[in-house]
Amino acid sequence: MELFGQLAFGFEQALTPQNILFCFIGALIGTLVGVLPGLGPVATIAMLLPITFTLPPVAALIMLAGLYYGAQYGGSTTAILVNIPGESSSVVTCLDGHAMARKGRAGAALAIAALGSFFAGTVATFIIAIFSAPMVWIASTFQSPDYFGLMIFGLIAAVVLAQGSVVRSIVMVLVGLILGLVGTDITTGQSRFTFGIPQLSEGISFVALAMGLFGVGEVISNLARTFGKPEVQPVSSLWPSREEARRAAPAVLRGTAIGSILGVLPGGGALIAAFGAYVIEKKWSKRPQEFGNGAVEGVAAPEAANNAGAQTSFIPLLTLGLPSNAVMALMLAAMTIHGIVPGPKLMVERPDLFWAMIASMWIGNLMLVIINLPLIRIWVMLLKVPYRWLYLAILVFCCIGAYSVQNSTFDVMVMAFFGVVGYLLPKIGCEPAPLILGVILAPHIEENFRRSLVVSRGSWWVFIERPISAGFLLVSLLFLLAVLLPAIRRGREEAFRE
């Protein structure tokens, strides 16, 4: 099998003692920060990015994978033990995970979440390996108008499938597109939106912007709330009972399947996967009344789904260069910093990096099981550190992180600015996640738009004449119409309410 040969090649690249150490450190620190309240995966990865700067690309990617899965998994731990979702995709885990913890089954819930995630991660790794080659082949037939259509579709779908007001989310995307254009125009050399500030001529630092919007903004709004002392449920035995294991296994399978599919969709990823899996689990269950009161399936399915989704959302990024959510946008930025450009060319030109990255995802998942379960008591202790100390450490690390991307104190100020923006946007009902997607895609969209128009001598018809781009644009239009039509809109609201 060619597939296994390629995966083996990837593991060969990834499995050096040094890389395993970096993966271990990444997963450890990722979990550590993921466990802390009020820092989602975007802010966590942005804040910890500088740790990878001095590493060679493969080691850096492996560490990033560790950070990413660690941050994801850390959120579930707090969800189960304290009923605080460490990040949005663990909201669902709170429902039954915390209910299990209250019944004294915290250890079992944690173990099921970890093992379910590991299983889902393993399957998703294979799915990525299997589907990457055909996706890259399809992508190789794409021309500029098709890429343009694809990116528009990606943005629209991300807006429609995510929660919140569609109109305001589109506004956020467009604002992001403008922010992404800041800097020197590559083809004409014209400075755009730089206000004569030389530090802006290379554009706004993406890491500083992401850290401001998701890290600093979150710190400010957390400080505005008063935190009660978190009530941490005690962890007894980590072993699930035979009955629990018997009920969890099929739920993990279903969760993995749902998560893998939903993760590939733009705007999908971990959050929507977890919600979808939970809703289906509850509908199909013979004992729906147990959901919310500590149903094992209610932990197993969403946890498997969010991990599978977190992983398969790499497919559009690695094969098409299209980030489908805010975390992937940050991963794209992180890879770019290390000189890796995800997209169809990556697999052909740098197969070593490509397969090493896929292997590293699996290694990252394995690390989580190895470090999370034995170290659970340390994570519990972390939860007791008061926030009035924690946020100071978060702020300092964010400052160092923003500075070290390009040794610029200006970027630290950029972070402060977007911290204010990130704090104020939700107050007028706007989510920062679509904005981030706009920022990262802006240069690519403009470039493909420009190239298309060169070929067509300025006519917009080129986007309709090519079937692929016409298809993407048509589906985008249908998506938009669907949300704006009342009947379907009602269904969407109900889906999110669950």
């Binding site: 569609v166 305001r168 254009l181 100071l392 630290v412 402060a416």
Partner: protein, 161 residues
Amino acid sequence: MTSEGARPPPAEAGRGWLTKTDLWAGVATLVFAASALYISADYGLGRGGRIGPGYVPLVIGVLLFGLGFLLVARTGRSYETVDSDIAWRPLLLVVGGILTFALLLSRAGLLVAIIATVVVAGPAAYGNTLLSLVISGALLSAFSWTLFVYFLKIAIPVWWY
């Protein structure tokens, strides 16, 4: 769950329009769009198939303007209200702390900048005293030096010379 057009509780619909999110989001959008259009007005639209640097900003600006208008126009039908409760103390102190870091880093170095940042941003949370802040600032700068400078060898000014 927030979404446009969800049936509002009858008493709230249309009333108190000054507090609607759509109004404020719309006005902010209009201001942003207008500034973007104004700034990019002389960037040049290009000719024929060669679009200039002002082409895409113009398209986005016009779209934004339209959506901003739509948001303002539908204010009467929306029911979501603005969260006008701004936590000024954390906002100003956190931003102040970060700016302190930015200003002090190249002049005084990492260690001093971290302590100053912690002291400035610290009072944002209740229960932090000056002494505890100086101590935690010193601990944080020792930790940051060990991690970022000693182990990771990140290029960052440590002292003022």
